[in-house]
């Protein structure tokens, strides 16, 4: 949590673990639905790598769809490929980047 001139009162409110669990679940549901994955949300771990073959093995086309869906549902903006690569590692990294959870 960076203390900057832009920090607001919301920054000082601790994030409830329940909120984070719910957020992770929403992200998994969104991935399954938006990317038409042939698995259930429960089969996605919080730290399962999204793009490596050992993980979900998604491709760049999925990544773009995920970027669009995350922006639409959570207002998460991933303006460039570098940012997207860093955020779209696993469910946990996505959850941490969502504005209301940051």
């Amino acid at each position: 949590m960076a203390a900057s001139s832009e920090s607001t009162i919301a920054d000082s409110i601790p994030i409830s673990p329940l909120f984070m669990d719910d957020l992770r679940q929403q992200i998994k549901d969104l991935m399954v639905n938006e990317l038409m994955l042939q698995i259930t949300a429960d089969e996605i771990g919080n730290e399962t790598p999204i793009f490596s073959p050992e993980g979900l093995g998604l491709d760049s086309v999925d990544a773009l769809q995920l970027v669009v869906a995350l922006e639409k549902k959570f207002g998460l903006k991933l303006p460039d490929a570098e940012t997207a690569r860093n955020v779209l590692r696993c469910v946990d990294t996505i959850a941490a980047a969502i504005p209301s959870a940051a």
Binding site: L35, Q65, V68, A69
Partner: protein
């Protein structure tokens, strides 16, 4: 359900023909006619259907102009349903004599214009999980005639772009297809003299020039629910030339 349909190069013979076909197809179709230098015919169409036809300023070679146009449509209509990338021009010259200006302008209006359009609507359509893009290529993309190195290259580029982009957005429920009209009887073709015109007709097995409605019917079909599983297709509309 009401649909927003953006047609670029809407003041030309083909653009107007496509606009007319969508107007006739359904009262739910709302047309946005992209215009730049010429707009007389588009203004006339708007005056006849003020509730369903809108004009939008659009320089297809400028990505900024595209962003503004799409923003306007989405702000008004809340969705961007169909894009017809129809704007373009040809400037025929033999390659050995072709000027830099002729090459670049033809590539810009036909190929870069189509790229800009596809990119401008991509995220909106993907977010909607719905969208239809129809790129007007040309028979020249497939049967490149002499004197059209610039135009044939640009339109072949449109075909390649269409097929690549179609794969990228297929999962998002967006389809992208290309139409390749042959000789279509439009004001753009009237630059031909009577002899050239006869020579063109002689090449067509159906022995007639195409009409804008022939191309428009295919565009309406590709934008329809029934065409939901068709993407990356390249459809010739040419009276049987091959």
């Amino acid at each position: 359900m009401s649909r927003s349909i953006l047609i670029t190069g809407a003041n030309g013979g083909l653009g107007l023909g496509i606009a007319r076909a969508f107007l006739q197809e359904s009262p739910d179709n709302h047309l946005w006619l992209g215009v730049r230098t010429h707009r007389d015919a588009a203004i006339e169409m708007q005056s006849q259907h003020p509730d369903r036809v809108h004009l939008v300023e659009l320089d297809v070679t400028s990505s900024l102009s595209w962003d503004l146009a799409v923003e306007t449509i989405v702000a008004t209509h809340k969705s961007m349903d169909v894009l017809i990338n129809n704007a373009g021009h040809h400037d025929d010259q033999l390659l050995a004599m072709m000027t830099d200006d002729s090459w670049h302008k033809v590539i810009d209006s036909n190929l870069t214009g189509t790229f800009n359009g596809c990119r401008a609507v991509a995220r909106t359509m993907m977010g909607q999980r719905r969208g239809r893009i129809i790129n007007i290529a040309s028979l020249s993309a497939l049967l490149s005639p002499p004197g059209q190195a610039n135009y044939a290259a640009a339109k072949a580029g449109v075909v390649g772009l269409t097929q690549s982009f179609a794969k990228e957005v297929a999962r998002a429920g967006v389809t992208v297809n290309a139409l390749c009209p042959g000789y279509i009887d439009t004001p753009a073709l009237s630059a031909m003299g009577p002899e050239q015109r006869q020579a063109a007709i002689a090449k067509v097995p159906m022995r007639r020039l195409g009409r804008p409605e022939d191309v428009a019917a295919a565009a309406v079909f590709l934008a329809s629910d029934g065409a939901g599983y068709i993407t990356g297709s390249v459809l010739k509309i040419d009276g049987g030339i091959f």
